[in-house]
């Protein structure tokens, strides 16, 4: 039974038996002219169309027809139409009652062929580049506009003109900060360990293994902790903000808020971005400690640097400014991630595709912007020699 996967076993192949001479033909239809036999139906119709001369007189005898569905009726209607177009005289008779109804209902209508637009690859590429530039410009404009409306909404909360949503903020804080701690700690310990290991190997050739503490301290506190934490949160929290707001947009929940006289920015965006701005510095601190711990462990295991030496080197190498530089960047990273995630969320349209595309865009743009902002900060701090 299951030998032919695409052919339903219960059908008989469609047949059209041609008889007649001197320009007068009878086509006896038989078998099942139905969807599972689509190929065979088309082949039979093509055979008949080729066999009948342009000025022939054809009578289709539907008396022996088995199963007939819209596909079979359509193929037969198309065949009759093509024969008539060629100049033949065509008639169909002997159809059973149910078949008659179907033949009457299914009338051949030529499909309007849409002209495929011609395209040249060079022009397409240039068009894409141009569109991408324009999009990037609008992204920037939108970002600034959104930042503005966020500041206004946050300002209203601060000045007491609108309600401070403590419950919402706490709920977001738990999701953004608390539940991120385990993964951030894990990743940070590993990254710290890996960097310390490579440093130890390089420093060993100079006989200055204990400098690993200086290196780790400055690298982790200034750059690495805040970067890793930001990238993790862009992936973990930014994507979930986009998906949440996007699916709310799809189900008209955001429109519902607007009609109740509530500002979606104030209700949805302010608690989320505020939570992100509060969480990211905290998580950056957690990440720094975890990285230094991981680095210290590896320095002990691979380089034989004892914890006492590691800590005292660390104390000498870093000042308050090293720590402040890293922590100062964190809230800005949070703002960048939050703004991008919320803009992308609000930009979701009706389809599932669009939700996926926007979530991807949110994470990719956020990570890119985090690194750009980090670079800008590096230039800034270098020029003020901090």
């Amino acid at each position: 039974m299951a030998e032919a996967a695409n052919q339903t076993p219960r059908t008989n192949p469609p047949t059209a038996i041609l008889a007649g001479e001197s320009g007068r033909f009878v086509v006896a239809l038989g078998g099942d002219w139905s969807a599972p036999n689509a190929r065979a139906c088309e082949a039979e119709a093509g055979r008949i169309a080729a066999a009948i001369p342009a000025d022939g007189v054809v009578r289709f005898d539907a008396g022996g027809l088995g199963r007939l569905d819209t596909l079979g009726a359509w193929v037969l209607a198309r065949l009759q139409h093509e024969l008539r177009q060629a100049g033949a005289r065509v008639a169909l008779d002997n159809a059973g009652t149910a078949h008659r109804i179907l033949f009457d209902e299914i009338q051949y209508k030529p499909l309007e062929q849409q002209e495929a637009k011609r395209s040249f690859i060079v022009i397409d590429i240039l068009t894409d580049i141009g569109a991408a530039m324009v999009d990037a410009f609008y992204d920037l404009v939108n970002g600034i506009a959104f930042l503005g409306s966020f500041v206004v909404a946050a300002g209203k909360v601060v000045t007491g003109q609108s309600r401070f949503r403590l419950a919402s903020l706490v709920a977001q804080l738990e999701r953004v900060a608390l539940r991120s701690v385990p993964i951030i700690v894990l990743i940070s310990v590993l990254v710290g360990g890996i960097i310390a290991q490579q440093s130890v190997f390089q420093l060993q050739s100079f006989g200055t293994v204990h400098f690993v503490a200086d290196l780790m301290g400055i690298l982790v506190l200034r750059e690495l902790a805040v970067l890793i934490t930001s990238i993790m949160l862009a992936g973990r929290t930014g994507s979930s903000f986009t998906a949440e707001l996007g699916s709310m947009k799809m189900r008209e929940e955001i429109d519902a808020l607007r009609t109740m006289g509530l500002d979606p920015i104030e209700v949805l965006v302010v608690p989320r971005i505020t939570a992100l701005i509060l969480s990211l510095p905290l998580l950056t601190f957690v990440s720094s400690m975890a990285m230094l711990f991981g680095g210290g462990m590896v320095a002990l295991l691979y380089g034989g640097v004892s914890p006492e030496v590691f800590l005292s080197r660390l104390q000498g190498a870093i000042g308050l400014n090293t720590f402040v530089v890293g922590m100062l960047k964190a809230p800005f990273m949070a703002l960048v991630i939050g703004i991008i995630a919320c803009i992308e969320g609000f930009a979701v349209k009706g389809s599932a595709d669009s939700l996926g595309a926007r979530t991807t865009a949110s994470v990719v743009k956020a990570i890119f912007m985090v690194i750009v902002v980090d670079g800008l900060f590096a230039m800034f701090f270098a020029s003020i020699r901090y």
């Binding site: 039974m1 299951a2 996967a5 695409n6 339903t8 076993p9 219960r10 099942d32 139905s34 969807a35 599972p36 689509a38 190929r39 088309e42 539907a62 027809l65 088995g66 199963r67 007939l68 569905d69 819209t70 596909l71 359509w74 193929v75 198309r78 159809a95 059973g96 009652t97 149910a98 078949h99 008659r100 109804i101 179907l102 209902e105 299914i106 209508k109 499909l111 309007e112 349209k349 009706g350 389809s351 599932a352 595709d353």
Partner: protein, 277 residues
């Protein structure tokens, strides 16, 4: 074998034998039995309207027949084959012979209407691209959509158009049974009437068997050959509208003689007239 069941030869098929037979069905969610010893027959070539209060499990029954929910007891026979006893491939063969219109359309949002209709054809049938385009255009025409709807995405369609497009997709494989879950919900009365007429026309031309979950009294009185009512996990009454009107189960009395029914055409005795015009 099903071979002998295939009544073709162009004769109008008799509305005699049951195409879906449900016996002693029990469906449980946790400890709660939604269906409890339910029996139901759907006859070949009829339009069966299925009613019941909200939350009694009308959709659950439909989903159980479709194989989306597993029963804990009982037997469901479709095309004379016991669904529980079928292999995956045999079940697939059955699935090609029914079409489903979900309550909210369930169109694939990333595909255009044309691609939605062609999806089952592409997967299950072998046909030339030209014929596939023509068949999609034909189905779109059959359900009363304009040709330019073909290249639209579901998010660009109105509620009524989504229902029609979803119906076109349900008809893509020329099914023998059509399952409709609240086909007229969310449509205006004129749109609902049009949709009822469309289903009746399609049923006549294509010889479909239609299983329709509905709350629309006009649909029930207008297009349904028989009505089955669900309560307490069982079919409490089944039969033509006259039987339902005469039934004395309190819920049925409230349903068919309530204010909404009286305001409509049910109690005035002309309930069949409207749909046949």
């Amino acid at each position: 074998m099903p071979q002998s069941r295939d009544i073709a030869n162009g004769a109008i098929q008799p509305k005699g034998d049951a195409i879906i037979r449900v016996r002693d069905l029990e469906v449980k969610f946790g400890d709660k039995a939604i269906m409890d010893g339910l029996n139901l027959d759907v006859m070949r070539g009829e339009i069966l309207g299925f009613v019941g209060a909200s939350g009694t499990g009308k959709s659950v029954l439909m989903r159980t027949i479709l194989g989306l929910i597993r029963q804990s007891r009982g037997e469901i026979t479709v095309f004379d084959q016991d669904l529980a006893a079928l292999s995956v491939q045999e079940h697939e063969e059955i699935e090609k012979r029914w079409g489903v219109l979900f309550q909210h359309g369930a169109l694939f949002s990333s595909l255009t209407v044309r691609q939605n209709i062609q999806m089952p054809m592409r997967e299950h049938l072998s046909m030339s691209p030209r014929l596939m385009d023509e068949m999609a255009a034909l189905k779109i025409d059959l359900v009363g959509l304009k040709a330019d709807a073909a290249d639209k995405y579901p998010s660009e369609l109105s509620g009524g158009m989504i229902k029609r497009a979803a119906l076109a997709r349900a008809l893509a494989l020329d099914p023998e049974i059509l399952f409709l879950d609240e086909p007229t919900s969310g449509l205006d009365p004129i749109g609902a009437q049009d949709f009822d007429d469309l289903i009746a026309t399609l049923q006549r031309t294509l010889g479909l068997t239609v299983f329709m979950v509905t709350h629309d009294l006009d649909s029930l009185s207008g297009v349904c050959d028989r009505i089955a009512a669900l309560a307490e996990g069982k079919v409490i009454a089944a039969g033509p509208i006259e039987t339902m009107m005469a039934a004395d189960h309190p819920w049925l009395r409230a349903y068919f003689h309530g204010a909404r029914a009286r305001r409509g055409s049910l109690d005035t005795g002309q309930f069949r007239a409207s749909s046949k015009t």
